[in-house]
């Protein structure tokens, strides 16, 4: 279903520079209602890495994502972008971020193409000038035939693909995904997992993927950061040392099972550490 535009990005594997893209330094976040969502959280994300944040609900994994995206400030601690090449008018690093929410978060009044155009439109790119990029982004997610459809005409999985295409159109360095496939059925989820991995291997962005599924996180990521709740913090940092490309054969392999058990144990440890869930 996916069509790869291999000359549009560096070939697979070449994007591992090992440089740090973003780091959280002792970040804490207290909401106005007094809840301590994050406590003294430190995390380095290397360029090109596929990292999953795994944890029970209420462990602050979405909060981490929002803080990295610049939606909401930290209560203490800092977010650093050592590799930032440019700065915006306020002196903040231009973050070049794509964000995929748990819901597709599409504008129902706009066609698929116009939804994908949005990030460019907000930066003053006309529809005509953006046309090629919009179609390319839709091609990446296999929806080029649905450019003129409205979101309500699409299935849940297709809406999520549109949401991904919209996040990709700015060619972000960092893709933040907040449980993007949680609401989808298993077949669709597997398919989108595979497609996401293909795209990642092709284009080599950094991905931070929030999930509460052990299986999904092991399948996708090079590294799983297990978080514990109340207050949210890093509980364990696991490396998933299995080669890409990963496919359905990997999903049924012993290595996969072992990693799943490891991650599952870590998750249970995290839940126990956080008290009653």
């Amino acid at each position: 279903m996916l069509q790869h535009n291999t000359d549009a990005g560096p070939p697979a594997g070449s994007h591992k520079s090992g440089r740090t893209l973003v780091s959280l330094r002792g970040v804490s976040k207290r909401f106005s209602n007094g809840t301590l969502a994050l406590q003294n959280m430190s995390l380095d994300i290397a360029e090109g890495q596929f990292v999953s944040l795994l944890g029970p609900s209420g462990c602050g994994k979405s909060t981490v994502l929002r803080i990295i995206a610049g939606l909401g400030d930290t209560s203490s601690g800092t977010v650093e972008w050592p590799g930032a090449s440019s700065y915006d008018v306020t002196g903040k690093a231009e973050r070049e971020i794509g964000f995929v929410f748990q819901e597709p978060t599409l504008m129902p009044w706009a066609t698929v193409a116009n939804n994908v155009w949005l990030p460019l439109r907000l930066h003053g790119v006309s529809k005509k000038a953006a046309r090629a990029q919009v179609m390319e982004a839709l091609q990446m997610v296999g929806l080029e035939k649905f450019a003129d459809s409205y979101p309500r005409e699409l299935s849940g999985g297709m809406k999520m693909r549109v949401s991904i295409a919209r996040a990709l159109i700015t060619r972000p360095k960092l893709l933040l995904m907040d449980e993007p496939f949680a609401a989808l059925d298993e077949i669709t989820r597997f398919k989108l997992n595979n497609d996401l991995l293909h795209l990642w291997e092709t284009f080599g962005w950094t991905v931070i993927f929030v999930t509460h599924s052990v299986f999904e996180s092991v399948y996708l990521s090079e590294r799983i950061v297990v978080m514990a709740p109340r207050p949210g913090r890093v509980f364990k940092d696991l490396a998933i040392d299995a080669p890409y490309p990963r496919d359905d054969a990997f999903r049924t392999s012993t290595v996969y099972n072992e990693y799943c058990r490891m991650a599952s144990d870590a998750l249970h440890g995290a839940i126990a550490a956080g008290g009653a869930a």
Partner: protein
């Protein structure tokens, strides 16, 4: 879903599968005919009953004129009635136009700033809940001319549904979409134009439907209060005048024009709503299960 479809289909499929949809189409055509025929038949029956009653019971025409007499009056008095209709229409649509602009502008202002909302909203509510017919005499005293007074009264009645609906629509914007706009560095203006206003559109259109009817009511109420303001006499004034002169056929004729105007406004706003929402909003799209 597809599994259950394939499991069920063989059981109901006819030998030549093309036949199945035909009865459904016929049924929907029958339904469409009924939708027009039933109310029309009803109308004819009522008119017929009315006419028979008036003729057989010898009801004097200054109590209840026969429908024939009403139509006659509509034709003979057309020049007067038409002039009045135009005056009422002018008041109605100017008030509606002002209510649209005023309501939307205020809604946008209130959505941008909590301070403005606190300053304005309570008084908008007070204006709305105070019976307009009680305030109208004051407005008539203070307004520079009767025309302006009529306009103010109709405006006050019509603008609140637009204000409150549009405000609600702007407020109910999806938070994730707001976050997305923030993430991509959208200016407040861009967020308003590309996100908040489109989101408020269905709410606004509901407000418009209500306001359309209310602006006509407002115009009539204002004309009633203004009474014999002379040259600028709209349909409501003709109505009162016909009552004083016991010209009941003409009263009915004026009434007919008023309700026809109301129906027309309702249809126009429904059509506008359908045109704007049919592509994407659940209220306007056709469902098929």
């Amino acid at each position: 879903m597809s599994a259950s479809e394939t499991a069920v289909r063989p059981a109901i499929a006819t030998p030549d599968g093309d036949e199945a949809p035909v009865p459904a189409a016929r049924a929907s055509r029958g339904e469409r005919i009924a939708r027009i025929a039933v109310p029309l038949t009803m109308l004819v029956l009522v008119l017929l009953g009315w006419h028979l009653y008036v003729t057989l019971a010898n009801v004097p025409h200054y109590v209840l004129p026969s429908p024939v007499l009403v139509v006659q009056s509509l034709i003979t008095d057309w020049p007067t009635l038409f002039k009045s209709l135009i005056i009422t229409l002018k008041t109605t649509f100017s008030a509606l136009g002002l209510a649209l602009v005023g309501g939307v502008l205020l809604a946008v202002l209130m959505a941008q700033s909590r301070l403005i909302e606190l300053a304005i909203y309570p008084y908008a509510v007070v204006l709305q809940v105070t019976p307009i017919i009680a305030v109208a005499p004051l407005i008539l005293i203070y307004a520079p001319s009767t025309t302006v007074a009529l306009l103010i009264v109709a405006f006050i009645v019509a603008f609140f549904p637009i204000l409150s609906n549009t405000t609600q629509g702007i407020r109910s914007t999806d938070h994730n979409l707001l976050n997305l706009f923030e993430l991509y560095g959208a200016t407040p203006w861009q967020t308003l134009i590309h996100l908040k206003l489109p989101n408020a559109l269905p709410y606004f259109l509901t407000g418009l439907k209500i306001a359309g009817g209310l602006s006509l009511i407002g115009a009539v109420v204002a004309e009633f209060t203004a009474g014999s303001a002379g040259a600028n006499s709209g349909l409501a004034f003709r109505l009162l005048e016909s009552q004083f002169r016991l010209n009941i056929p003409r009263l009915y004729a004026a009434l007919l024009l008023l309700s026809f105007t109301g129906v027309l406004i309702f249809f126009a706003s429904s059509l506008l709503s359908w045109l704007l929402l049919r592509k994407w909003h659940e209220s306007a799209v056709r469902r098929e299960n």
